[in-house]
Symmetry: C2
Subunit: 436 residues, 2 copies
């Protein structure tokens, strides 16, 4: 196996700049068919797929022989002339003149036919090579980039929070534990508490890292390991927080539409569903949401948190993202600021995506008052001494502040219109899935 | 505590755009001094520090009284006129007209004097508020942004690799283990093997995530939890790999110089040390490095890996970053491609930063041949069945490919000229340090 002449390398996405030139490209054989008179090779290189066409009169007999013996996913270098072809996806095809086989692949397990999901997940390292999975990964990359660009351009500083944490703050039942040189350590479920500290240092911050929930949930929305971006803003109140979320989601969707038309087409996503995503989003109070659910006989009581079926029903009543807001304090986390008008509810909102995709963001204004926060920690039976550093943030220059967590895989699942969150991450970790 | 009128908010970094206007700004009192005749308040808001000046004739008696009672880190809103002042860091100061104290802070543990390192680390959540730590975090953010921007603009796709992995590929001694619903799982030490799979799907990829080494090392270069960016490129050989590393490091250093002059000054870093970082970097073979070390009586034998003192000595012989290359196969990982001219060494290089900072990058060309890779796995006594998916990458369209891992904290420690890696991450995890 040798690398081809470096000077001649052209990527498939750049072929349009080389019309009627002889180029060399390197990649893998995705698909091929051949009669005795003409052969079509579909070649992928990570930047796209292009068709190379060969006839026995264009190439020598040995090359024609080689073409007939090719197997799916063989690695190769093809040389030939780039010709415009309006019927082709990229608008070009290659008239093949020369073929170098780098490696003739063994019989490929993921032949181009239907496969069961477990089989595909067992071969995730190969499944990722298909055009659909490549498109999803490109959409994921785009979304991650746009989220960070938007925040940084808005004055945010990325400040990373730790994965290994010393405290099982909210019980150990959904935590992964490990031994840290003789002390128990837990994998983070959220960087928020740490981000509240860094917001008091840098004003507007975000963390962006994997998070872990050892929940025995087996739904199309749950991953054990997932990525979350968590902005936290000093001096932002509840309304500032929602307005930022609207701008951020609108921006990301807009940028996906501008830059990823091809990827959306590949995954079969109708852009019209995304084009109508415009701020301001809809809003419904928790109380009103419960009335809406009562009409549909869900039997949920005031004070219970919303589950996936409730979210689907609520989101279904709106044609754009909707904030469900002002939840009962007793079904939410200890650090949320009560509504001053109505202390039994908190200044918290979940953002639900349309089309039944459910929660993509959860956020709140945080408690700024030391005494109230301490009382809540005690009411929730949390180990007070473990929260000493967190209470410090209310001892030394406490300010109004707010933040939220946006789940990358849930956002991507909605934007790409996927059926299941398992396709939204390169190597999903689920209840029964730790490999490859 | 109420948020001030939203319309009037001005951040400290933007004060220069409001010369001679009355503004309101919100932040924390960093320092203050007062005589009976004039008071100086240094206020920080995360975007910068500004001095507000007040005299008894500018403000009412109650405000003057309030100013006298202020404590370090109290949160406040000040209103006043922005005046040009060339002696001030940002070129402006505020002539204070009105002061609102949001919260009068309790006595601050990190008073403005010298503190011991353990004390500072125990109060990391507050230590981060100091100008030096803020500048370091801004440099970190800038470096992370520039690394990703460079790679994406160069055609790379970010493809995240998992933290939880099923195999203890290289022994369990330096791995963190956890229970994954009845199966052992291990925290990743590197995403490389997974990135080799995604490179075969997307061509040029990188992963960017925390990584973990449960090593009992207690040096100024070691963190238990650290961030690493790992590009992996299909069709890149050894030389392509080194050229990319040079371009990437040169770009990041250049962008830091362009955008972070103030932060470099705050941390006391001489920009001249960075201005001479220009590709191509120096190179020395492992063999020649050993000769250089022999002159200094290090007593290292051929075949042993380099340690921190060796790296410092080697790097000290060069005034710019230096690649140490072609290491003995036996001291490096199993997946590295042998030098075809000399199979006892591998096509691997470590990039050492100058000024004694040591390794910031480790990279190599990867073995592409199935039989050789299998032989290496057996020679290293690795569990063959756990590498079946990794071997698949050599069964189905194997190609020449290369990659590297760049440690964020080590790069930042060098760029910022820090004495110890512990300041380069918001919440360091070290041998004896898991909190806050």
């Amino acid at each position: 196996m040798t690398v081809m002449d470096k000077e001649a390398r052209v990527s498939i996405e750049a072929l349009g700049d080389h019309l009627d030139e002889t180029v060399a490209l390197q990649g893998w054989l995705y698909n091929h068919r051949s009669s005795g008179k003409i052969a079509f090779l579909q070649i992928r290189d990570g930047t796209g797929v292009v068709q190379a066409v060969a006839t026995p009169s264009d190439v020598d007999a040995a090359t024609w022989e080689k073409i007939q013996s090719l197997t799916q996913e063989s690695s190769l270098v093809v040389r030939g002339v780039v010709r415009a072809d309006p019927r082709s996806p990229g608008g070009v095809e290659i008239h093949l003149a020369n073929l170098q086989v780098l490696q003739l692949a063994e019989e490929y397990p993921l032949a181009l036919k239907e496969h069961g999901v477990e089989f595909l997940l067992n071969h995730r390292h190969l499944w990722l090579r298909t055009p659909r999975q490549v498109a999803i990964m490109r959409l994921r990359d785009r979304i991650m980039r746009e989220l960070e660009d938007f925040l940084r351009d808005d004055g945010f500083t990325r400040v990373d929070t730790p994965i290994l944490t010393p405290n099982a703050c909210e019980g150990t039942s959904s935590l992964f534990e490990t031994d840290f040189f003789g002390h128990p350590a837990y994998l983070t479920q959220s960087g928020q508490l740490y981000s509240e500290a860094t917001a008091a240092a840098l004003g507007k911050v975000y963390c962006f890292s994997p998070a872990f929930r050892a929940e025995k949930s087996k739904t199309r929305r749950h991953l054990i390991e997932f990525w979350m971006i968590e902005p936290e803003m000093a001096f932002y109140d509840y309304e500032d927080n929602l307005a930022l979320q609207e701008r951020l989601v609108e921006h990301v969707v807009d940028r996906v539409l501008q830059t990823c038309a091809e990827e959306l087409e590949t995954v079969g996503r109708d852009p019209a569903q995304l084009e109508r995503i415009r701020a301001p989003f809809a809003r419904i109070s928790y109380d009103d949401a419960l009335e809406l659910l009562a009409d549909q006989d869900f039997g949920i009581e005031w004070g219970e948190d919303l589950g996936a079926p409730h979210e689907t029903a609520i989101a279904g009543a709106f044609d754009r993202p909707v904030f469900v807001e002002r939840f009962p304090a007793k079904c939410k986390a200890f650090y949320m600021e009560p509504d001053p008008q109505r202390p039994e509810v908190v200044l918290a909102a979940d953002l639900l995506a349309p089309e039944g995709y459910g929660e993509i963001i959860g956020g709140s204004q945080r408690i700024a008052d030391y005494d109230l926060l301490l009382r809540r920690i005690r009411e929730h039976n949390l180990p007070e001494e473990d929260f000493n550093w967190y209470l410090d943030l209310r001892r030394y220059g406490s300010v109004v502040h707010s933040g939220f967590g946006l789940g990358i895989e849930r956002l991507l699942t909605w934007v790409a219109g996927l059926d299941h969150v398992r396709e939204s991450i390169p190597f999903p970790r689920m209840l029964n899935r730790l490999s490859p």
